[in-house]
């Protein structure tokens, strides 16, 4: 499933990243690699973007980007 449809407060394992180009590099640099653990912390007050915890730091992603990250529940 896509990271965009994940629930706040739950943890997930990254299975695959379907992004290309710039976004792909950026995600790699920020630690979005296969097998990494992400926790969905919360959604923004207007429901988009979302806040995630990965490698013990906080990061925000718009849902349009989160769609490209394939995860499964940990």
């Amino acid at each position: 499933m896509g990271l965009n449809s994940c629930k706040s407060g739950k943890r997930y394992i990254i299975k695959n990243i379907n992004a290309k180009g710039k976004l792909f590099y950026k995600l790699l640099d920020m630690g979005f690699i296969d097998g990494a653990m992400v926790e969905v912390v919360r959604e923004a007050p207007l429901y988009d973007p979302m806040e995630l915890k990965i490698h013990n730091y906080l990061i925000t992603l718009r849902k349009s980007e989160a769609t490209l990250i394939e995860v499964e529940e940990a």
Partner: protein
């Protein structure tokens, strides 16, 4: 002995506090040529070692998709530093080590500084420094820029490495499956680049365009070879090289992390978690944001403005000093050099007057940046702004520009630097000047006072809120047209942990930015002031007019002579020079007094006791002369004023104003308004000043500008509404254009930011005025309808769904 050090680290690792701690305040800031990334160097000495430390922009890695990374990489490659210092956030070690591994591969001596040791400790993170040092085979020092610990250890280590010159044995990660490809590429690199060849090979395989371009200058077919290796690797292992390398580096970071770090409070909520629960709460986030903005506004704009009351006397003193060294005024004949000098000083003072506001503003921004609220602001508002092609990070620039009433576009445009999304950044740069700058406020007040005395507050509400709707519309339009092809960046943004800012760091940044403002803005403003002066001065008065004023001057002089003929001092003022001296003495004294000088009396008494006694008139004769002198002064000022208004009317700018009348009359503007707008281009303040001097009647001395405007201009409130609408959209002033050019790095864009709002302003004012005239609508109704239409358009545009996503891929 000299050494050059590069300071590298990920964003939010506290790099600048370490930089400030090591280098002191003696810093040198320059822009990297052609880009808008700051290059900061610090020069300092330790023992007999002269150190140049260059602060590289914060980067997450050394791949090549962002400007910062390109700048950092270029520096290391071209300037070849002797030593690299890598600042690492000890409380966020795993991700930070990702960059450390890439730096180690470069093959230069490296010192790792574990910064924010205090934060890590508080969060129960125990780092085994020796363990890391052993595993990475490089010195590792625990430090805290905030608590100023570790400074001596760092300096000592720099000293030791510079003196021993010990070469590190090459650091290498074993990339297993990729090793054959690395070897093949490495063997092709025969030229000595003064840098580790293995690193170059790895970067080239990683698809780093900058490195590939460098290599392809010397090596034939390198691109084909790389392509071959890439395809080969992907075919055999079914893996993409980039993600393979990233995974390898993260694995290595994981190994170091798990062996050297012990977390005792792993699952406890950190302070940041707790604060975010409140600050990013669905219901509380907006009120808090609002409060923050109001506070910034109150402290910087309102209190800063009050502060200018205290700083203004100093600027006035500069002006007084200038007028004291310039040739003196001869009754109603002002030497042009004097006129020019005063004009220049006034132009500069108008801008320097804002320094206290800027200083507070920049200090507050620095605090917000350091604390970590900025990205959170973007997080909260991104959804709204994105719909109009802007970005969550556009919030601050727009607020600074005056999203409510009263800001300044200069710091607003400057603060767009951090926006990662290029299209949104350009749109923000473009829309910030549309906000209501502080200097427009007196203009509005003048017009509202003159034409809408009863609807003042609701008109002010329209004026202060319509700008944001206008900005949204324009942004939406330009991002879907001229900026359509601009690169957008994915919204991937770190939310750093909350940190207390350091006083020194905030101060340094505020001073730095104020200084940039002074330097860049003042030079340009000076140049434009000169041009404007010429355009307002020439061709000047013709002979008949001059003769007329000479005659008037004679009349008032005769009157003065007659008035004082019976006093004992009559023969002291027989010639023109003496009268001129007295008159100047009198007006200088008054200027000094009005500027709040407490020593004026003493000073003027010393200067000329006789003249002083007349100015302070005690005896009967002195009083008579004093009275006559006042009349003379008033008469002289009237002549000067009339001369000025005729000169403006005759001047080049006046002619341009007149020649625009055939077009501008559809918007209800006569040439006087045109001239005011043209001159306001140098600095907004001039609009009011110019209008004021044009409409001064000279009849009643104490008439307020509002009354003068209402009675002498012949305008109706509908005229005023059209003028206000024009002013709302009016193009950026010179100072703003300079920073637009700086930030957008394009003259074309600067020109566009001048003419598009100008055209639009003209069009809107024309539509409102013409329709208003045809349908006989009052000025207030016209403004209300205009407001409603703009808000409606903004809402409709917001409802249009965005189509743009300019990256490929997705779930199958």
């Amino acid at each position: 002995m000299k050494t050059k050090i590069a300071l590298a680290g990920q964003p939010n690792c506290g790099k600048s506090t370490i930089f400030n701690m090591l280098s002191g305040i003696k810093q040198h800031i320059a822009n990297y040529p052609g880009v808008t990334v700051d290059k900061k160097s610090g020069f300092f000495s330790y023992k007999d070692l002269d150190i140049e430390m260059v602060d590289l922009p914060g980067t997450y890695s050394f791949s090549s998709y962002s400007l910062e990374e390109r700048v950092a990489k270029q520096f290391i490659l071209e300037e070849s530093p002797d030593l690299i210092i890598n600042i690492v956030d000890a409380s966020n070690l795993k991700r930070n080590l990702y960059l450390t591994f890439q730096l180690l591969e470069i093959g230069k001596p490296l010192i790792v500084i574990l910064n924010m040791a205090d934060v890590a400790e508080r969060r129960g993170i125990k780092v085994d420094v020796n363990q890391i040092s052993q595993m990475l085979n490089c010195p590792v020092i625990l430090a805290s820029g905030f608590k100023k610990t570790g400074k001596n250890e760092i300096l000592e280590e720099i000293y030791r490495i510079s003196n021993t010159k010990d070469e590190y044995s090459e650091f290498r990660i074993n990339y297993e499956e990729l090793e054959p490809s690395i070897r093949i590429i490495k063997e092709k690199i025969t030229k000595d680049y003064n840098i580790n060849k293995r690193w170059l090979a790895i970067k080239a395989l990683e698809g780093d365009n900058f490195i590939i371009e460098q290599l392809s200058k010397d090596i034939e077919n390198i691109k084909d070879d790389l392509k071959h290796e890439l395809e080969h690797f992907e075919a055999i292992f079914n893996k993409n090289i980039q993600s393979f390398l990233a995974a390898m580096r993260y694995d290595s970071a994981e190994v170091v992390f798990s062996k050297s770090v012990k977390e005792t409070k792993k699952d406890e909520l950190t302070l940041t978690d707790k604060m975010d629960k409140v600050i990013l709460n669905r219901w509380l986030s907006f009120p808090i944001l609002f409060l923050v903005i109001v506070t910034i506004y109150q402290l910087a704009i309102v209190y800063g403005y009050q502060l200018t009351n205290y700083t203004w006397p100093y600027l006035a003193a500069i002006k007084n000093f200038a007028s004291s060294i310039l040739p003196a005024v001869d009754i109603a004949h002002v030497p042009m050099i004097t006129d020019f000098g005063i004009w220049i000083v006034n132009s500069l003072n108008a801008l320097l007057n804002y320094l206290p506001i800027f200083f507070i503003l920049f200090a507050l921004i620095a605090i917000l940046e350091d604390v970590g609220y900025m990205p959170r602001m973007a997080f909260i508002l991104d959804r709204v702004f994105r719909k109009y092609g802007l970005h969550g990070q556009s919030t601050l620039p727009l607020v600074l520009g005056g999203a409510f009433v009263g800001g300044c576009a200069v710091p607003g445009v400057m603060s767009t630097k951090g926006i990662a999304d290029d299209r949104a950044r350009m749109a923000t740069i473009f829309t910030v000047p549309l906000m209501n700058c502080l200097a427009k406020v007196p203009f509005y007040t003048l017009l509202l006072g003159a034409f809408f005395p009863n609807q003042m507050s609701i008109m002010m509400f329209f004026i202060s809120t319509i700008t944001i709707f206008t900005a949204l519309i324009i942004s939406k339009v330009i991002t879907s047209t001229i900026l359509k092809t601009r690169e957008t960046a994915p919204f991937v943004m770190e939310l750093p942990t909350y940190n207390l800012p350091t006083f020194k760091g905030v101060l340094i940044r505020a001073v730095e930015r104020v200084w940039q403002y002074i330097k860049k803005v003042c030079t340009i403003v000076l140049a434009v002031a000169v041009v404007l002066f010429v355009m307002l001065q020439f061709p000047g008065l013709n002979k008949e007019e001059q003769a007329k004023f000479d005659k008037q001057e004679q009349t008032i002089l005769k009157k003065f002579d007659k008035d004082i003929s019976k006093t004992a001092y009559h023969d002291k003022f027989q010639n023109r020079e003496n009268v001129a001296e007295l008159l100047n003495f009198y007006s200088d004294y008054r200027a000094k007094k009005m500027a709040g000088s407490s020593t004026a009396d003493e000073e003027f008494m010393k200067k000329n006791e006789f003249l002083y006694s007349i100015v302070r008139a005690k005896t009967k004769d002195e009083k008579t002369i004093n009275r006559a002198l006042r009349n003379l002064d008033r008469g002289r000022n009237r002549i000067l004023r009339e001369q000025k208004s005729i000169r403006i009317e005759n001047s080049l700018l006046g002619m341009i104003g007149r020649s625009l009348e055939p077009i501008s009359k559809f918007a209800g503007f006569d040439w006087k308004i045109n001239v005011a707008f043209l001159s306001s281009f140098a600095a907004r303040e001039s609009a009011v000043a110019t209008l004021g001097s044009i409409y001064e009647s000279g009849k009643a001395e104490n008439q307020r500008a509002e009354e003068a405007m209402r009675e002498n201009s012949g305008y109706t409130p509908l005229h005023a509404a059209a003028i206000i609408i024009f002013m709302l959209l009016t193009p950026p002033c010179i100072a703003t254009m300079v920073v637009v050019k700086l930030q957008a790095n394009s003259y074309r864009f600067m020109i566009l930011s001048l003419f598009l709002p100008f055209g639009l302003a003209m069009l809107m004012a024309t539509i409102v005025f013409s329709l208003g005239t045809i349908f006989n609508i009052s000025g207030f109704s016209a403004m209300s309808i205009y407001y409603a239409v703009v808000v409606l358009i903004a809402i409709v545009l917001g409802l249009i769904p965005e189509k743009r996503i300019n990256w490929k891929g997705g779930l199958k």
